[in-house]
Amino acid sequence: MKLDNPSLKRVTPPTLNFFERTYLPQILGGLAITGKHIVSAALGKGAITVQYPEEQHVPSPNYRGVHRLNKDDQGRVRCVACMLCATACPAHCIDIVGATAPESWPDREKYCESFVIDELRCIYCGMCEEACPVEAIELTGFYDLTGLSREAMIFDKTKLLSVFDQTKDAEPMKFNAPPSGRSIDTTEITKTGAGPV
């Protein structure tokens, strides 16, 4: 673009008068702002600090913390061992061993015999949660995860299910029923005769 282009907008900085050029008014304004912060924090109102061990921070609902394996209303693990989460996982931290579902579980062919997540390898990206077709794996708001050994940080199925038991009241499952957007409403299609779906 050339310098004489008419669409070029020239911005001239505002000219300061003598008083403003001493910068004293701006300094006083700055002092007023910091002073306000100091006073309000000193009186105990302005400070946003969370006194951690005594006061627990509540993360936002979409916080990605420790995983849990969800249970359905009959107390069974929801996982159908489809391996989609393990495939989606960029850190390869999920290890699933699937098995044929018992006869008494007519709604699925397989279930997970073992489900292990290495919490130290996990990067908490939440892609397993997105990949899961049956909402079996979810990330909770647990953020202060500690362990005394590397082995203790490898969570197996029992542990992941116990995380669900601990957090199900504070954080209900994000999708209890399959969300309406997922099941295709076929009535419209059949009416117009678009053929079988």
Partner: protein
């Protein structure tokens, strides 16, 4: 003989109190820093974190004192000592309360609230000692054999030499008006007339700005400037040697605050409430307290400014001193001298 003992006791009291005060000033600084950033600050160590300074001090003393192999050892060890001693001996002429006729007495000895009472050249002494402090910084930067430290030392020398000039000239206005270099005479003049800030507002401003530069406090902390110089002159120092630089800086802040109060804020004076004719132990202690309160407010103000203004760039720092403050101080000095001369002629 007894006078010597009295002076030694006074030195002990002043050194002890100022060292303790520095420890708590660091706590106050941390609290104010936290509040300015909407945090809570230290609150775990004892009630209101009052034990925090002790913990900090213990940490400083117990840390490993590393002396790198490549430093110039004698100067490296000398530098923090100079920093702390130069800051400390400035207290010798600072009046902490009323001095002169009417001072209270104890065991037939008059107690003057000043280590060296009635020094005629008090201000000159303070300025001279203040400039000595720069040796600590320069030697530290030089002997560390580290380019960052060296740059910090160089900046410090240029900065302090530049700001000494407006600092000295801003004080001269008050000296002309009160007709003395003795700090007590200046306080008494302010008690008889008005506070220095009223008659010398420009001088006060120049003094304040130069004082910030002299104490290496933000916005003039270029010798340190953590972000560019990894700590500047004290990069290579650890444990209590680092602590001594810290201590020196805060002692300097206290001295400068006392000077500001003595020169421009009336010392122990409160208009219409306290004056020189009131004598006795109680009044003397009240005056000491008033002065201490003023100094505390001044120190809090210095910390407040730290969290308001960002650091100057090096060339703007020099511009401010040589192109703005020195001409302004000169004009102020000339105008003051003229007015004082005219005033004296018309009255006598």
């Amino acid at each position: 003989m007894w006078e010597l003992v009295a002076i030694l006791i006074k030195i002990g009291i002043v050194v002890g109190i100022s060292q303790g005060a520095v420890a708590y000033l660091i706590l106050v600084e941390r609290k104010i820093a936290a509040w300015a950033q909407d945090r809570v600050g230290p609150n775990r160590c004892g009630p209101f974190a009052l034990l925090q300074p002790l913990a900090d001090g213990a940490k400083m003393l117990l840390k490993e004192d590393v002396i790198p192999r490549y430093v110039t050892k004698p100067l490296y060890i000398l530098a923090p000592m100079i920093a702390i001693i130069a800051a400390m001996i400035g207290f010798a002429v600072v009046p902490f309360g009323p001095v002169g006729p009417g001072s209270p007495s104890l065991f037939d000895t008059t107690v003057e609230f000043q280590i060296a009472p009635n020094v005629d050249i008090g201000i000159l002494y303070v300025l001279a000692i203040g400039s000595l402090g720069v040796y600590g910084v320069i030697l530290a930067g030089w002997s560390s054999n580290n380019k960052y430290s060296f740059l910090g030392g160089l900046r410090s020398s240029a900065q302090i030499i530049s700001y000494e000039i407006p600092l000295g000239m801003s004080i001269l206005g008050m000296v002309l008006i009160s007709g003395s270099l003795d700090l007590n005479t200046i306080i008494n003049w302010q008690d008889n007339n008005v506070w220095g800030i009223v008659v010398q507002p420009v001088g006060f401003l120049i003094f304040l700005i130069s004082a910030f530069a002299e104490t290496n406090r933000l916005p003039f902390d270029l010798p340190e400037s953590e972000q560019e110089l990894v700590g500047g002159f004290h990069t290579e120092y650890s444990a209590m040697k680092f602590g001594m630089f810290f201590l020196g800086e805060y002692l300097h802040v206290i001295t400068v605050s006392y000077l500001t109060v003595v020169l421009f804020l009336g010392g122990w004076d409160i208009p219409f409430v306290l004056d020189q004719t009131q004598v006795g132990w109680f009044i003397a202690l009240v005056k000491v307290g008033v002065m201490l309160a003023k100094v505390s407010l001044m120190i809090v103000f210095i910390m407040w400014v730290r969290w308001t203004l960002p650091r100057f760039r090096y060339d703007t720092l020099m511009d401010l001193a040589w192109k703005s403050l020195i001409p302004l101080a000169l004009v102020n000095l000339l105008a003051t001298a003229g007015v004082v001369q005219l005033w004296r002629q018309s009255w006598n």
